[in-house]
């Protein structure tokens, strides 16, 4: 393959990619300008459906930061008091787009239901009760959960149109008594149902120059 055809191919991919948001403007909450963008079908999170992330807060922070700024989404975070909004802000997020309900009381599902027509994206780390799934389907909101399955189901992820898993593999810039964390490597995999969409490594942080890779300590 010569250089011209590679460039042509790149241009073609670019032009196709540019058409993606216009092809489906309503059905996805866009997560643009992030290394994660390329991992998401239609560059966003599906509306009216549950997206499941694993228990990797760094990944969620990256999603929320970019959905709230360039994506322009309004976001509600229900029942997740540990989430650091400072880290979302530091990752470039627009905190004006957020509301937080750290303690949703005894009826978190009711709180989520009330938010379905009010915001673009709801983050709720707990399991999603089945009755909520019906309401969600008719609503314009995307729901991001960290729990494995809907309650009442036996661990199935069939309700999850999209699954995103992240795992921190390396902290760069920090060593034995030296440096500071400058960037973080994250292994990311996205699945639609059981089908793997994409797997790869992204680097988060302003200076992704690896000073020293610190994976596991040999003892």
């Amino acid at each position: 393959m010569n250089g011209t055809s590679v460039r042509e191919k790149a241009a073609l991919i670019e032009s196709l990619r540019a058409r993606i948001p216009t092809a489906a403007p309503q059905q996805y909450v866009p997560v643009p300008d992030s290394p994660l963008t390329a991992y998401l079908p239609h560059a966003g999170l599906p509306r009216g459906a549950v997206t499941r992330a694993n228990d990797c807060a760094l990944l969620v922070v990256e999603l929320l930061a970019h959905a709230s700024t360039a994506g322009g989404a309004t976001i509600a975070v229900v029942g997740w008091p540990e989430l650091s909004y400072d880290s979302i802000h530091a990752a470039g997020g627009n905190l004006d787009a957020f509301i937080a309900i750290p303690d949703p009381g005894s009826s978190p599902a009711r709180v989520v239901a009330l938010l379905l027509d009010a915001v673009d994206l709801i983050v709720y780390p707990g399991p999603i009760p089945r009755p909520l799934l019906g309401k969600l389907r008719a609503s314009p909101a995307a729901l991001l959960t960290l729990a494995a399955g809907a309650t009442g189901t036996t661990g199935t992820t069939a309700e999850h149109r999209l699954r995103i898993d992240g795992r921190i593999t390396a902290f760069h810039g920090i060593g034995a008594g030296v440096g500071r964390i400058r960037s973080i490597d994250l292994d990311v995999a996205t699945h639609a149902g059981d089908r793997l969409l994409r797997r790869g490594t992204i680097t988060l942080g302003k200076h992704p120059t690896a000073i020293r890779r610190v994976g596991e300590r040999r003892t």
């Binding site: 807060a57 880290s87 802000h89 937080a100 309900i101 949703p104 960037s183």
Partner: protein, 466 residues
């Protein structure tokens, strides 16, 4: 929600029944507080010094302000409206609030309901404004009786002059704040609404936030702010039936004091008040007063006194044998909803409903912490905040505790970290850096995570982690 505001222009003059033919002005503290159309034609304006007004209109007839007279004359109008619509509330003498949604439902359209309401108050000059929120309806009434279509509040308000905010005292905007906004070159509510709410709030505080909220078509008062405890009401059955106004005033003061003592105990303030009286004929009279700001004890007493005066003067109802005042809507003092920014209207509705479910402070708006992150470098910040009581122990290879020395160095080489029952091997760490005078932080990588530890009171505390 749809609100209808019924505005009686120059109510103090209508109440004084002086006729509006000649130039007449009501004054207080050497200033004009209301004037007739004839006086306005001669250049007399509200807020003008009396001296200047006399200069403009030498034959100006002057009357002192008398809120009691205004309220007394207003009660029969409100009572007359009770015959045609439910839930008539008084914002101030000269301004009534009606639930337009209910009225429109009953009379099948807002236009028909408005017509019937205007007929019911017929001899009096008044304007009916309908809009999505109470403040917008009040402004729509003053704009000559406009019906603002649902969702059109912002477009309507954008054209209204900034001065509207002070002209209607029931909006509860501070004159000094509005004056400052005008000095900044703002002329319309639209220009004010275009400013970021956070900027207006940081410059002008709660008063600025209120102006901004009204200009944006929001109701700065939550629909349901805090659940109203039932036992805030106060009741009195006087030994002798109340027939005279002075006796009513005395009872009003006592009741207001009792209610405000209960409110103070509960740590609440009252923004909507129901006054109920039982007459010797066995009839029960009730009137609801609605205010933009929390009532002081004196304001409550004034409203009760005006109301009782109105009932006694209207006659026909006989002496009052029982009185009761009950706060209907209460707030936490200084409770400033939306202080942290704006949200779309449907967003606000959802927030109101969640607050009704969980209480007034359940919904928060995150703000970036200022000055909290120092020395962490330019990498991503930790994505999880730990519980403030999360202690960890760092040890070296010989299981000796790794602590911070006075020279801001670590004593020992970190080897493992214990967090609760978990044990992690340390793979990397930073040198400590000082935060303020007494605290220091380090980053460590252990157990596949990175942690931000804070040295405080001779212990390592987990501040946050990745």
């Amino acid at each position: 929600m749809r609100a209808l505001a019924l505005w009686f222009p120059d109510w103090p003059l209508q109440a004084a029944a002086v006729g509006t033919a000649g130039p007449v002005a009501i004054h207080a503290a050497h200033r004009v507080v209301a004037c007739s159309a004839a006086a306005r034609r001669l250049g007399v304006r509200r807020g003008m010094a009396l001296r200047v007004a006399r200069g403009l209109a030498p034959d100006l007839k002057l009357l002192p302000r008398d809120p009691q007279r205004d309220a007394r004359a207003f009660e029969p109008i409100a009572a007359g409206l009770d015959e045609v619509v439910a839930a008539v509330e008084v914002a101030r003498p000269g301004l009534l609030l009606i639930d337009a949604h209910a009225a429109a439902h009953y009379y099948r359209s807002e236009a028909r309901a408005t017509e019937i309401i205007l007929d019911a108050v017929a001899p009096h000059e008044c304007f009916a404004g309908i809009a999505d929120t109470i403040p917008t309806a009040e402004i729509a009434a003053r704009a000559g009786g406009v019906t603002v279509a649902p969702g059109e509040s912002r477009a309507f308000l954008a054209r209204q002059p900034l001065s509207t905010l002070v002209e209607e005292e029931a909006l509860g905007c501070e004159a000094a704040t509005v004056e400052k906004l005008a000095h900044l070159g703002l002329r319309t509510l639209g220009q004010l609404a275009e400013l970021p709410a956070s900027a207006v709030t940081s410059r002008f505080g709660a008063a600025g936030r209120r102006c901004h909220a009204i200009a944006s078509g929001a109701d700065p008062r939550p629909l349901t702010s805090a659940p109203t405890p039932a036992d805030l009401a106060a009741e009195v059955r006087p030994d002798e039936p109340i027939e005279r106004v002075d006796a009513a005033a005395f009872a009003a003061r006592g009741l207001a004091a009792a209610v405000h003592a209960k409110l103070a105990d509960a740590g609440l303030v009252c923004v909507r008040l129901a006054i109920t009286a039982e007459t010797s004929g066995g009839e029960e009279l009730t009137r609801v007063w609605h205010t933009p700001r929390p009532l002081t004890e004196r304001e409550t007493a004034d409203r009760v006194r005006w109301q009782l005066d109105g009932w006694l003067t209207a006659g026909g109802s006989g002496a009052l044998v029982g009185l009761r005042i009950a706060p209907l809507d209460v707030e936490k003092p200084g409770f400033a909803r939306g202080l942290w920014g704006t949200a779309a209207e449907h967003d606000e509705q959802a927030i109101s409903r969640i607050e009704a479910l969980l209480g007034g402070e359940a919904v928060l708006r995150p703000r970036p912490a200022v000055g909290r992150w120092q020395g962490e470098g330019e990498g991503p910040l930790p994505s999880r905040v730990a519980h403030p009581a999360s202690r960890v122990v760092l040890v070296d290879e010989a299981s000796r505790s790794v602590v911070l020395t006075a020279e801001l160095t670590l004593r020992g080489v970190p080897y493992a970290m214990a967090w609760g029952t978990q044990r992690y091997l340390v793979v990397a760490w930073t040198m400590p850096w000082a935060v303020g005078r007494r605290l220091a932080k380090i980053q460590i990588v252990a157990g596949g995570r990175a942690w931000l530890l804070l040295w405080t009171r001779q212990q390592w505390r987990v501040e946050s982690y990745y």
